[in-house]
């Protein structure tokens, strides 16, 4: 990644470098969008729907999404389920352990804003965007597998609009 990160710096100095960069962007984005590996992560109700989405009827693998058990090899955390204040530092650590470029999908009401029930609750984090940057929000309690797939497609769309030079800022 080191070389690729420096690519924009070098390529802009030579004539036609921008063109190279654009086509590289296209290829790289396409490859990243096509193989989004998700972390095996689930805390509460949404985890069951996440499992269902990985199973026979909905089949995450069609989109090239397979699960990895370790955050080092994952590209996206699908935060499935309530994040409590006790768990929040763990989520942050998981996110920090991931390799760039990394994404977060907030699945379910609890991760979007604390959920439909826990607004007067002393132990639930009201939305995970206090802890980690979120790319796609999927509301629902829990969201249907179709909505999760839709969210993943949106994430793919988002990835395809990125450029290599974006990475340096992160």
């Amino acid at each position: 990644m080191g070389i690729i990160k420096k690519l924009p710096v070098y390529s802009e100095k030579i004539p036609g470098g921008g063109l190279v960069l654009t086509s590289l962007d296209a290829i790289f984005n396409y490859s990243r969008a096509c193989s989004v590996w998700y972390l095996l992560f689930g805390t509460a109700c949404c985890a069951i729907e996440l499992m269902c989405t990985g199973a026979a009827r909905y089949d995450f693998d069609r989109l090239g999404m397979i699960f990895r058990a370790t955050p080092r090899q994952a590209d996206v955390i699908i935060v499935a389920g309530t994040i409590t204040k006790k768990f929040a530092p763990r989520l942050r650590r998981l996110y920090d352990q991931m390799a760039e470029p990394r994404y977060i999908i907030a699945m379910g009401g609890c991760t979007v804003n604390g959920g439909p029930f826990y607004y007067d609750c002393y132990s639930v984090e009201k939305g995970i965007d206090h802890i980690v940057p979120v790319d796609v929000y999927i509301p629902g309690c829990p969201p249907r597998p179709e909505s999760l797939l839709e969210g993943c497609l949106h994430l793919q769309k988002k990835i395809k609009t990125q450029t290599i030079s974006d990475w340096q800022e992160k």
Partner: protein, 353 residues
Amino acid sequence: MILATAELIGIFQWLHGFLVDLGLKEPWLSIVVYCLLSVTVFGVLCLIALFLVWWERKIAGHIQQRFGPMRNGWHGWYQTVMDALKLLQKEDIRVDTRDKAVFFWAPVICFVAAFMAYIVIPFGKGLIVADLNIGILYIIAITTFTVISLLMAGWGSHNKYALLGGMRSAAQVVSYEVPMVASILTVIIFSGSLSMVDISNSQQGNLIFNWFIFRPPFGIIAFITYIIAATAEANRTPFDIPEAEQELVAGFNIEYSGMKFAMFFLAEFVNMFTVSAIATTLFLGGWNGPLLPSWLWFLIKTLLVVLLLMVFRWTFPRLRVDQLMEFAWKFLVPVTFANLILAGWMKYAGWYW
């Protein structure tokens, strides 16, 4: 000159002649030719590994009544190319507490060791990089490097799960090496040679019935024990305890990301192909077979063995570490050695050879 022993297919003979015409002298001639050969083999193997990853996902999908990758090309055929490209772009995480040299070299050794075995594997009639007269011995020696790399990965990551994975892998591979070698020795008794080409040659003719697997009962026993040991050697389920996802999260490669992980990942599949290729050469007649070209026969047979390993993976639960050891030492080792001794005795008595 070593080159003379290696029969190269047309293009390399042509290349050799071309280079000689250019006025290239030894030792540069050999170096250039071997480099080109290695690069070709390396490229082909990378493609094969990528194909195997895709194939595994498709097989897993179909066993589980789903589709597997569908979005990239016809039935997702370039899915794994995309995966590889993505892994290339991922950040290379280097844990602060790592053992620097060990952490760095582990995937390299794993990757290189996986590919080095292919120097002596005959992909077809004459399709071999170097026909060493100790070919199979060389393979046994070189594939064992994998275990060193896994142990290094476990140690270098400075992670307890990784260390457990590395230790498990060391214990496992060392144990299963014994029955594996014993079943290979049975074949060597049949063929009387350590050279992979000679072993293949001695299975020629008589349609398929000269294959060593069809030498009852020792051939078939040796084949089965070899396949079991080879599954363990390639760290596949039911012997995948070094990276048991549910126990050790990801085992030895827990701290590896990006391209370093990809090297482990590809090496795993190349290893799987290696053990299948050896099984093909030793037991299934190598490139021999009627009608089809030799390399196609080799590929078909090897892929069938790979298929077998994949179906294992998606069917069986995982063994526990002590049961794994017990199985190796209390069952496989006695069986393979008895098989070996009996086969040797039969050969000595000259009963059917």
